[in-house]
Symmetry: C2
Subunit: 248 residues, 2 copies
C-alpha cells in the first residue's frame, strides 16, 4: 500500500508532486461536531438536549450536533449548530476534545469533536420545540439515558467547565448581563459543587477588579435587593494575572 503510493506519487527527487492525488488516496471518515450547551436555571446547571432520532436510541437523549460540511471549519460547524438550534448569536463556544472510538456510532465510523457552550437561558427562546428540545438538569442524567457516548462527552465537558471557570471569566456567559453577587456565587457553587463563604467570595471577585457597579438593584426579591454588577472585559484584560504559578 505504502509502496504503491510511493510508486504513483514519488518522482526521482523523492518528493510528492501531486498533493491532490496524495490526499485523494487517504482514507476518510465522517466528522461531526457535538455541542454541550450549558445553561443555568433555578440555581442548577442544565444542558440542552433533544430526543435522539435514531431507532436504536429510541427514547434516549442526544446532544445537539451535525455533520461537518465540506468547506467548513470545525468551529464554524459547531457555531452553526448552536445558532440554528438556539437562535442566539454571540454565544460562548470552545472546543474541548475529540471522541473517536470506532464503534461509538451504530451506523459506522463517525469521529466527533465536542464543544462546550455557555449561554443565558433568559436571553433567548429556543428556536425549535420539536424533538423535545429542552434544558435537562445535569444531575439527573445516567449513561443509559443517553444516545451514543454522549454521557461521556457531557462528563468530559462538565469537568472541563469546572476547571475552566476557576481560571477564566466564562461563568458570566451563563448569567444575565447584569447580575448580583449572590447569583454569581450560586453559579460557582452549583458548578463546582462546593459551599463558598459569602464574604470571601465577594472579596475575591472585587479584588480581581473587573466587576462594574451598574447602580441598579435587584427587583422582585422578597428581601433587601443586592446591587447589580456587570463584567467589564477591558478591565479584565488589563488586570488579568499573567503568571499562574507552579502548583499541583
Amino acid at each position: 500500500m505504502k509502496k504503491e503510493l510511493e510508486a504513483e506519487t514519488l518522482s526521482t527527487d523523492n518528493l510528492i508532486h501531486d498533493a491532490t492525488q496524495l490526499v485523494a488516496n487517504y482514507p476518510t471518515v465522517a466528522l461531526t461536531v457535538d455541542c454541550v450547551i450549558f445553561g443555568f436555571e433555578d440555581n442548577k446547571l442544565k444542558v440542552l438536549l433533544i430526543r435522539s432520532d435514531l431507532e436504536v436510541f429510541k427514547g434516549k437523549w442526544s446532544l445537539l450536533g451535525d455533520v461537518v460540511r465540506a468547506t467548513e471549519e470545525l468551529d464554524e460547524a459547531a457555531y452553526r449548530v448552536l445558532t440554528e438550534r438556539t437562535g442566539m448569536s454571540n454565544v460562548y463556544l470552545d472546543q474541548v476534545r475529540s471522541f473517536s472510538s470506532p464503534d461509538r456510532h451504530p451506523g459506522g465510523r463517525v469521529v466527533t469533536i465536542a464543544y462546550c457552550s455557555l449561554l443565558n437561558t433568559q436571553h433567548h427562546q429556543l428556536q425549535i420545540t420539536a424533538n423535545e428540545l429542552h434544558w435537562h438538569p445535569l444531575t439527573s442524567l445516567s449513561d443509559s439515558d443517553m444516545a451514543f457516548d454522549h454521557k461521556a462527552i457531557i462528563d468530559k465537558c462538565y469537568k472541563w467547565l469546572q476547571k475552566r471557570i476557576q481560571e477564566h471569566p466564562l461563568g458570566f456567559n451563563l448569567l444575565p448581563e447584569k447580575f448580583s453577587l449572590r447569583e454569581l456565587q450560586n453559579l460557582y457553587e452549583a458548578i463546582l459543587n462546593v459551599e463558598l463563604d459569602r464574604r470571601n467570595f465577594r472579596k475575591k471577585f472585587f479584588s480581581m477588579d473587573f466587576l462594574e457597579d451598574t447602580g441598579e438593584f435587584e427587583e422582585d426579591v422578597k428581601h433587601r435587593p443586592g446591587k447589580l454588577y456587570q463584567f467589564n472585559f477591558e478591565k479584565y484584560e488589563k488586570n488579568k494575572r499573567k503568571w499562574i504559578g507552579i502548583d499541583f
Copy 2:
C-alpha cells in the same frame, strides 16, 4: 438533500431505522494526527521535525503525523506515529486540539488533530534517520520554515505546555528518571521563559512532596554535585491538591 435523506431513512414514527445508511450518506474528510514531540537538550526546548516530502513544501520542516486508519482511535494513531518514529514506548502524549481550516492542506480537505508529546532525548535513539529527522530548537522556527499550518500547531502546543506544566507534573517526562533540582529548574525556566529563585523553587517542589531522594548524586559536573531525585507518582496522587481556587 435533507428532504431526500428523510424520505429514504425516516419511517412513519419519524425515527431513522437504518443507521448504517445514514452514516453512508454523510460527507467524509481525511483525518490525520500531528505530533508536536518536545525534547529538552542543552537547556533548550526542542521539537522533533522532519523534512516535508511534498514538493510544494520543498525544504520546509514538518511535524510527524499520519492519516488515521479506519478502525483506529485518534489517541492510538498518535501513539503509533510516536512509537514508529522514536522507537519509544511509554511516552507522554495528550491531545491538544483540532486544526481544520479547509485550505490548510494543498491536496484537499484534511482535518488534523494535534497532539503534544514529551520525551527524554537521552532515553532513546531516533529510529529513522531519513528525511533529516532531528531535534529543532523551538526558538529558531519561523512560520515560513514550516509546511502546512505546522508552525501554528507548534505555537498552540507550546502555549498549552506552558500552562500545563504549571498545573500538572509532566515536565518530568522531559528529564532522565533521576534528575537534579537544577535540571528541573532549568527545564521550567526554559519552557516558561522566566527566571526563578533557586531557593523558592526548591521549597515549592519539596513542599508538594513527590520528589524522592535517590541517595545518588550528579556525576561529571565540575562543581559540587547535586542530589538526584525521582518523581514518585503515588506520592503525587496522594497529596495533589484538589481545589484550584478561583483566580483569573
